[in-house]
């Protein structure tokens, strides 16, 4: 089915799209830096700028899951208590929450859990294969599905329909979107990424993570995120339903093309990496449950 011209107009008009929370881009730029050059004071300053975000971080720092021996009263103490890594995840999760409109039949936490899972897996995979910028892979993983935010904001009813179709047919969401909307979250994401002036390599990830062979410049980055996206969906951190297919990564463009570029992939213990991912995704569920209350 062809995309409704009205929907395209809506997507292309910045007015119809949600605005990027002010704190999100600086947070993400910060995240792209190597872990050892990250400075606690900078992130404290960033979080403190956004009052509701600061309050949420403190609430989570004081929640039973992370409970510290004494009450955490300042952002600085929260960073010390939870660690920089966890504070990043919470801060980005909370600012993303503002972007995701509430839906009648799906919890936004599902999308967030998938994005965070994809980011963590992408960074680990990037590190493992020797990709020079694992922080970039993390940021790209977080943002790869912003096209879903665009579709949710401009065509909530139709998007819900495609989600129902994907769930009942147990098919990939982007394929169901094409059937119901005539456009998928890759294309919609390309538009919102331009509106938001996201960096060009991240724009490519958003536009091609299901079709990495189409990426013109950041081919490795797009493939790393594409692989991580698929692995998360296969391991129960997808869009709240099980996609019913068998995947042979050796035949997946995202994986096979990387194998030609990175010596660490020849051979690569994908079984072990998959089992390790189960542990990572368990952690994602814990974080997201703290931020959203639940992963549905």
């Amino acid at each position: 089915m062809a995309c409704d011209p009205n929907l395209l107009r809506k997507l292309q008009s910045a007015r119809e799209l949600p605005t990027l929370p002010a704190v999100l881009m600086p947070l993400l730029r910060y995240l792209e830096r190597p872990l050892d050059s990250q400075d606690m004071h900078e992130i404290v300053k960033l979080i403190a700028k956004d009052e509701s975000l600061a309050a949420r971080c403190l609430q989570i720092a004081n929640s039973p899951l992370f409970s510290c021996s004494r009450e955490v009263e300042s952002i600085q103490a929260a960073v010390v208590a939870l660690g920089l890594e966890r504070i990043h995840q919470i801060a980005v999760s909370c600012s993303f929450l503002k972007l995701l409109p509430s839906m009648s039949d799906v919890s936004p936490s599902v999308f967030w859990a998938h994005s965070l899972g994809c980011a963590l897996v992408a960074r680990e995979f990037a590190t493992r294969i020797g990709f020079p910028d694992p922080g970039k892979a993390y940021a790209a993983g977080l943002l790869h599905d912003v096209g879903i935010i665009a579709l949710l904001s401009t065509a909530p009813e139709e998007f819900a329909k495609s989600l129902r179709l994907a769930r009942s047919e147990r098919m990939a969401l982007h394929e169901a979107e094409q059937k119901e909307l005539g456009i998928d979250h890759e294309e919609a994401g390309k538009i919102i990424a331009q509106v938001w002036h996201l960096p060009s390599d991240i724009r490519e990830v958003i536009a091609h993570h299901h079709t990495p062979e189409k990426a013109a410049e950041s081919h490795a980055l797009v493939s790393i995120v594409g692989f991580s996206d698929l692995l998360c969906r296969l391991n129960g951190i997808g869009y709240g339903f099980t996609e019913e297919h068998q995947t042979n990564f050796a035949e997946e463009p995202a994986f096979s093309s990387l194998a030609g570029q990175f010596a660490a992939l020849q051979p690569f213990d994908l079984a072990r990496f998959t089992f390790e991912t189960e542990g990572v995704l368990e952690e994602v569920r814990a974080v997201v449950t703290q931020v959203y209350g639940t992963v549905q």
Partner: protein, 305 residues
């Protein structure tokens, strides 16, 4: 300020820091047995190691790691640890995501391949079937499919084990409630009946399973098993050393049809063991598909051997 008033008894995943010795043990188990404990299962692994630490009377996990790497005692101790790891794991419908993947994804693919060969019979092999929960589970799944997907098809489940005591339990088909803890109530009612306050598997299921005593290292016995579509071999290969694993995998390869699948236990891997099978991902589980021509065979062919 948000008060820290509620202190629910929640598992504090954050406070668990596995010791370096535990990580070394995890990696050693993976390297020698081929079963991996992801971070969310490390606490469980530690508990199991602690049991062995106590049994041996060693002081720490560090010392226990030395026992596992000490040539004189490593193989025997590894077996004891693997027994701790797999203890109590056996039950009907043990790994639901894996069984769902087999039923909804693998089965249709196998049937399609079989149809192309004009064959309408399936042979599933439970290799190392222990006390029978796995082969009966598979028979139940296939019986459930027999009125829909498998209409007009016949099937059999071949179940083998080395241990005669396990096999006689399996053949008796009598189980306690604990064995069916993961089994849907309607399946329990449909395929089991109570007998002397125990659960007895129904004759309809029993009729589909054929038990045999087979040593997986016995070439002649292994060669007698052929035309198999799917092999289940869960928590068995972990006990074998690399050379024995490779031998068994070779036998499995020749027992299977070209479209055949090899299914291992949760978090078991063939990495570094064989390239005769290729890893595939199913939702929340993995399986191996038979490689038509292995690299070794191809090289042999290339060299005109």
């Amino acid at each position: 300020m948000i008060a820290n008033s509620v202190k629910a008894p929640v598992t504090r995943t954050e406070s668990y820091n596995p010791s370096p010795a535990l990580i070394q043990i995890r990696d050693l188990i993976y390297k020698t047995a081929g079963i991996f404990h992801s971070n969310n299962r490390l606490r469980l692994l530690e508990e199991r190691c602690q049991k062995r630490v106590q049994a041996l009377g060693v002081r720490s996990l560090r010392d226990y790691y030395d026992c596992l790497t000490n040539k004189a005692m490593s193989r025997g101790e590894l077996t004891s640890l693997l027994n701790e790891i797999t203890i109590g794991e056996t039950c009907f419908f043990r790994n639901q995501p894996q069984l769902d993947g087999i039923r909804h994804i693998v089965l249709p693919r196998v049937m399609e391949a079989k149809s192309r060969l004009c064959m309408r019979h399936l042979r599933i092999w439970s290799a190392g079937c222990s006390t029978g929960e796995e082969p009966y589970t598979l028979a139940i799944i296939l019986l459930e499919e027999s009125k829909s997907r498998l209409k007009g098809w016949t099937f059999e489940v071949v179940a083998t084990d080395l241990n005669e005591r396990s096999l006689s339990v399996a053949e008796a088909g009598t189980y306690g409630e604990y064995s069916v803890r993961n089994t849907d109530v309607h399946l329990r009612e449909k395929y089991f009946h109570f007998q002397n306050s125990q659960l007895q598997i129904n004759p309809e299921v029993k009729a589909k399973v054929r038990f045999n005593r087979v040593n997986l290292s016995d070439e002649a016995a292994m060669k007698a098993l052929h035309d198999v579509d799917i092999i289940f071999c869960c928590n068995v290969l972990i006990y074998f050393d690399v050379a024995s694993k490779q031998r068994v995998i070779r036998y499995f390869h020749s027992s299977l049809h070209g479209h055949g699948y090899l299914v291992l236990g949760h978090a078991e891997s063939l990495f570094g063991i064989s390239d005769q099978f290729q890893l595939v991902h199913l939702p929340s589980s993995t399986a191996y598909v038979r490689h038509e021509t292995s690299t070794a065979e191809k090289e042999a062919l290339d060299h005109g051997m």
